[in-house]
Each structure stands twice: as structure tokens, then as C-alpha cells.
């Protein structure tokens, strides 16, 4: 199974990381979408397990969560899904999940099952660095890598502690706020990339509000190692619920635009 380090070392232009909610709008379509994303040039995948109360997410991802929950997705089914994806291609898979789902599954069992399915890291959106020791033993037992979030308002002291505990990549939040497409990349992100690059050799990937190829070029130009594109893609699902071919083609087209922009920079 490929690690983040191996993947990032193999790239010289920057990683393209699409985000989807597992089972949005249903498990089969979701699998087709993820395959299309891989085929369109995704380097790493970020996948979310749907939760009833996703406080770190904006309306686009929340609606995706509701669609996925309505289609019957559970954490156990999400792990089966990850297995199918890693059987399709050996690609690093990061998970974005809310703590209660892992807590109820059993932290140790969850990490082991997720790792066995081919997952690389599980970022828990509502577990900040002060409390990550609650899951540390389980993550180590499952030999998972770690991905943690840094935001533009994170203090230097906390940033130090976060990068020290991060082995996969730093999930750099480009905005003060929740997930969602934005017209411009926030001017908060470049200074944050600089702070991170000065503090760590671990790859730095930027998400939240990356919705156009130009945004990707901006943050990669500022020194980031990858971009995470979520709401922009999930919006295409939402807008094409009646036409799955168009949905998948639309996602593929947008990701290829990102891919071309990154490869030609």
C-alpha cells in the first residue's frame, strides 16, 4: 500500500486531492464517481463518512451528507467502500470523519478495519490536537499515518504541536470558516503556507474554498504541495441528481481542468 510520503515524493507539480462524501448520492454511483476521479488524475483521495451534524461543513457538504445517510451509508459500509476503491487502485486515502462515529464504532476497531481496507489516515474534524491522544494508540496499532488541520488563526505554539504530530500531510484550511466554494482564495492562506513550510518538511495541502484551477495554481505557487477540492465537485453531484452520466462526466471534466493546470504550471 502506497504511503503519503511515497506519493508526494513521486510528484513534482503538486497533488490533486478530490473530496467526496462516501455514498453520495448512493454507494454505487459514489463508486463510479470516485473511479472517474482517479481516472481523471487524482493523486490522493479525501473521503468523508456522512454525519448527522457536520459542524465543520458548509451547506454543500451537509446536503451531500444527508443524501448519503438517506441512501443508508453507515461507517461499516463506508469501510467496505474504501476497500473497493483501494482494490481498484493503490492510491492514498484520507478519511474525514466526525468523532462520534468512530467513538461508537470503537476507536481501536475502527482504525484497524479502516487500515485493513486500505486507508492511510483518518482526520477527525472535531478532535483538536489537544485531545488526539485519545486516538493515538489506536492509530499506531493500525499503522496509520496522521493528517491534522491548521487554520489561519492557529497560534504558533499550536502550529508547532500540530506539525509535530502530523506524519502524512498538514491539512491547511484556507479560510476562517466552514467548507464551501468561494470566488477567491483567501489572502490568509499564503502567509499560513509560509509559516508551515518554515516549521515542517511534511507536505502541506490546502483545502476549503479551492474551487477553480487558478486557486490551485495560487496556493501551489505559494509553496503548497497539494490542493483539496471538495464542495466544487460535490455541487456537481447535487446539480445532476437526475442524470448520472452528466454528473460523472462533469466531475471528470473539472478534475481534468485542475490536472492540466497543475501539470502545466
Amino acid at each position: 500500500m502506497i504511503t503519503y510520503r511515497q506519493k508526494f515524493d513521486s510528484l513534482d507539480k503538486g497533488a490533486l486531492i478530490p473530496f467526496f462524501v462516501i455514498g453520495d448520492p448512493d454507494l454505487e454511483t459514489s463508486f463510479e464517481i470516485v473511479k472517474a476521479a482517479i481516472d481523471a488524475g487524482a493523486d490522493v483521495l479525501e473521503l468523508g463518512i456522512p454525519f448527522s451534524d457536520p459542524i465543520a461543513d458548509g451547506p454543500t457538504i451537509q446536503k451531500a451528507d444527508i443524501r448519503a445517510l438517506d441512501s443508508g451509508v453507515t461507517p461499516a459500509k463506508a469501510i467496505e467502500f474504501i476497500k473497493r476503491v483501494s482494490d481498484y487502485k493503490d492510491i492514498p486515502i484520507g478519511l474525514l470523519v466526525y468523532y462520534n462515529l468512530i467513538y461508537q464504532y470503537g476507536i481501536e476497531k475502527f482504525m484497524l478495519d479502516f487500515a485493513a481496507a486500505g486507508g492511510n489516515s483518518a482526520l477527525i474534524a472535531d478532535l483538536c490536537i489537544d485531545d488526539v491522544d485519545e486516538v493515538k494508540a489506536a492509530i499506531e496499532a493500525a499503522h496509520l499515518e496522521t493528517v491534522h488541520m491548521v487554520t489561519p488563526n492557529t497560534s504558533d505554539e499550536r502550529l508547532e504541536s500540530i506539525v509535530e504530530k502530523t506524519s502524512g500531510f498538514v491539512y491547511t484550511v484556507a479560510v476562517l470558516g466552514v467548507t464551501g466554494s468561494r470566488d477567491e482564495v483567501s489572502d490568509l492562506v499564503n502567509p499560513l503556507i509560509k509559516r508551515l513550510k518554515a516549521a515542517t518538511k511534511t507536505p502541506v495541502c490546502v483545502g476549503f474554498g479551492i474551487s477553480k484551477p487558478q486557486h490551485a495554481l495560487d496556493v501551489l505557487g505559494a509553496g503548497a504541495d497539494g490542493v483539496i477540492v471538495g464542495s466544487r465537485l460535490v455541487k456537481i453531484i447535487e446539480e445532476n441528481l437526475g442524470d448520472k452520466e452528466k454528473m460523472i462526466a462533469g466531475i471528470s471534466t473539472v478534475l481534468k481542468e485542475f490536472r492540466d493546470a497543475i501539470d502545466n504550471r
Binding site: F51, S52, D53, P54, I55, A56, D57, G58, P59, Q62, I66, L69, T74, P75, A76, Y98, Y99, N100, L101, Y103, Q104, Y105, A125, D126, L127, C128, I129, D130, D131, H148, M149, V150, T151, N153, T154, S155, R158, I162, V173, V175, L176, G177, V178
Partner: protein, 391 residues
């Protein structure tokens, strides 16, 4: 953060990283200003002259005769605004003012916290925005109107069940994007640290007064204290005055809705399992895999699938007992208090009364009970009329 905000293993601050600096800022300001003489003086003065404290501890003679033991009601329904919520919004509003914030946001269920926040927003000249579930907006239209009269804007949240938890989700999201000038005035003793501690601090006036008052009136401590529990702020306010008094039995009454064997209730401590929700570890109504239930109750103010972490701790440690009262028992209690005392209780507070009625004839006549009448029921008259039309 300076403190972990733990009550045993419960509580904490399980939030996205982006919120940590905001919580740190509030925590620091709270620990500073709560002991600041100017702050304390202004709080004391407004508590007395604006909220109308202290509130009476009223011996409910005819209600006592009905249940067969002595019941004292802590009259939080007489606090300006009609509920205990003003204790907290005044305290936090002042804190926000001393911190230099310009905007207040708050979530609300029944509308009492939204109204109490809007009131303080007008008093202290804040730009105020209230997040309220669309179902609650519909069933509490009078309170919505009052909030708007106070100059607040009301955001109707239709995601999820359109109730309190969805309003909190959206308020938190808004806060994430507007941290620098906005103070999130959290309404109940739940959510991430430092909110449970701050809300408890400003509500503890209920328990401090009640303890002093009952010692004057009865020359002894009560045998039992009772309060309704949704998120749990009025209850922790009363309970906090008596936690060290081991002889005092503590009872929290949850919303049993249409019955705790249905899915239509909010009896979190009776039926929930421990989980992590809205920033804290505690009991939670959830399905097998951890998706949070949409709770249901006749009283919008108790309609919340989580509960404050200190209540989780008091339950787990056995210091307090938590019991449900269902909608029909609550409507009975609502009617009985009005008929015996001429006091219209909030449906929330009627849960505490329903427990007292369930103990009718079961306690020694000399038993002394203090119950928190957390709010007045004018807002609920229409709902009661729907369930039990007057003949």
C-alpha cells in the same frame, strides 16, 4: 486553553481547530472579568434593577396541599423576559461588551434564549442575530416577533429537523466565519468548554439564592430539589447551590415526549449513550452507529438530543437522579399549577411539576421540596390549547 473543561471524563472541547482561538479568547476574558470589580458591580446592579433579582422563593400552599408535601417554587418565571435565560444572557452580554465585541449571535429552541439575547442586545447596543429551527419559528411565533421588536434578526434554519440542534449547527458555522467581531452567546450549560462553565457561573445565582431563602423560611435544607433538564442550564443553576449538601436529593426531569419507549422524546440521560456532540462528551440520543436523533417534545426548550456535561457527570456519579415526564403528564401539571396557584408555568418547567405530582401521596407531609419554576408559560398557551381545547 487554560482549563480542560472536564467533569469527570465528560465535557471537553471537541471542536474544529478553527474555533479554538475563539474559545481561548472567551475563556481568558471570562476568567479575567468574573473577578473584575467593575464588571461585578455592573452585573450586580443590572441583576437587581433590570432582571428584578432576587426572585422570590414562594411557598405554594395549595399546590402543596394537592401533592401532600411542602413545595417551594423558585420564581425564575418572574425574571425580566419571563425565564431564567436572562441570568445568562445578561452575564455573557456584559462579558461580550467588556471584550469589545460588536455582534451577538445565539441559537434558540423555545425562543426564550433568543428573546433573552435580543433583550440584552438592545440593552447593551449589540447587532444581534438569532438562529432558530424552522419548526420552532412556526410554533413560537410570538417570541420571534418579540425578538424582532428588540431589533434582532432571526435566521430560520430548515436543515435537519429544524429544531434546536440544527440552529446550533448553523450558529457554529456562522461563528467560524465571523470570529473577530462576533460573540456566540451560548444558551445552555452544554457545548464545548468554556460554555458549560460560563453558563453555570451566571445561572448559579438561582441555587445560591434558593439555598439562602429556604434556610430563612424553613430553618433547614430541603429534602429534595427538582428542575427540568433539556440542555440543563436552569437545573445546573439550582443544583450548583446544593451539590455539597449530601442530604439534599437532586432530581432532574427530562422530556419524555410521547413516551420513552417511542423515538419521540428528549430523555437524553434516561435513554442516551455516551458520545461526542456539539463540542462535548456526554450522554446523547443517537442511533446504533452514532448518528444523532432528532428529538421531540411538546416543549421546544427541552427539545435537544444532547445534555450539559456536568449533568452527564452527576448522573454517572449518582449524585443526581434523572427521570422522564411525558407530554400528557406535563399538560396535567401545567393545568394543576394554574388551578391551584394562578401561576402559568412554562411547559419546560411543567416537567419538574409533573415529577412532583407523580410523587403525590408518596412522601412524608413534612418533606420540603424546592422546584425551579424556570419560566412562565404565556408563550405556551396556544400549544396547550391545541392539545387540550377549552370546553
Amino acid at each position: 486553553m487554560e482549563q480542560t473543561g472536564r467533569y469527570g471524563d465528560f465535557g471537553g472541547y471537541y471542536v474544529p481547530e478553527v474555533l479554538i482561538p475563539a474559545l481561548e479568547e472567551i475563556e481568558k476574558a471570562f476568567y479575567h472579568f468574573k473577578d473584575d470589580l467593575v464588571f461585578k458591580e455592573e452585573l450586580e446592579s443590572l441583576r437587581a434593577d433590570y432582571l428584578g433579582r432576587e426572585t422570590p422563593l414562594y411557598f405554594a400552599k395549595r399546590f402543596s396541599e394537592y401533592v401532600g408535601y411542602k413545595v417551594y417554587l423558585k420564581r425564575e418565571d418572574l425574571v425580566h423576559g419571563g425565564a431564567h435565560k436572562g441570568n445568562n444572557t445578561l452575564g455573557q452580554g456584559l462579558l461580550a461588551k467588556y471584550m469589545g465585541k460588536k455582534k451577538l449571535i445565539a441559537e434558540t429552541g423555545a425562543g426564550q434564549h433568543g428573546l433573552a439575547t435580543s433583550m440584552i442586545g438592545a440593552l447593551l447596543d449589540f447587532d444581534t442575530k438569532i438562529f432558530m429551527g424552522s419548526v420552532d419559528v412556526a410554533r413560537q411565533s410570538v417570541n420571534v416577533h418579540k425578538m424582532k421588536l428588540c431589533g434582532a434578526s432571526v435566521v430560520s434554519v430548515s436543515a435537519g429537523s429544524g429544531t434546536l440542534k440544527d440552529a446550533i449547527n448553523d450558529a457554529m458555522r456562522y461563528w467560524c466565519s465571523n470570529l473577530s467581531d462576533t460573540f456566540y452567546l451560548f444558551g445552555t450549560a452544554a457545548g464545548p468548554h468554556p460554555f458549560p462553565e460560563i453558563v453555570r457561573y451566571f445561572q448559579t445565582v438561582i441555587g445560591i439564592e434558593a439555598r439562602k431563602q429556604i434556610l430563612v423560611k424553613e430553618n433547614r435544607l430541603p429534602d429534595m430539589i427538582v428542575a427540568c433538564v433539556g440542555g440543563g442550564s436552569n437545573a445546573i443553576g439550582l443544583f450548583s447551590g446544593f451539590l455539597e449538601d449530601e442530604s439534599v436529593k437532586i432530581v432532574g426531569v427530562e422530556a419524555g415526549g410521547r413516551g420513552i419507549d417511542t423515538t419521540h422524546h428528549c430523555a437524553t440521560l434516561t435513554k442516551g449513550r455516551v458520545g461526542v456532540f456539539h463540542g462535548a462528551k456526554g450522554y446523547l440520543l443517537q442511533d446504533e452507529v452514532g448518528q444523532v436523533f432528532e428529538s421531540e417534545s411538546i416543549s421546544a426548550g427541552l427539545d435537544y438530543p444532547g445534555v450539559g456535561p456536568e449533568h452527564s457527570y452527576l448522573k454517572a456519579s449518582g449524585r443526581a437522579e434523572y427521570v422522564p415526564a411525558n407530554d400528557e403528564e406535563v399538560l396535567d401539571a401545567f393545568e394543576i399549577l394554574i388551578k391551584t396557584e394562578g401561576i402559568i408555568p412554562a411547559l419546560e418547567s411543567s416537567h419538574a411539576l409533573a415529577y412532583l405530582i407523580s410523587m403525590k401521596g408518596k412522601l412524608d407531609p413534612n418533606t420540603v421540596v424546592v422546584a425551579n419554576l424556570s419560566g412562565r408559560g404565556d408563550k405556551d398557551v396556544g400549544i396547550v390549547e391545541e392539545h387540550r381545547p377549552l370546553k
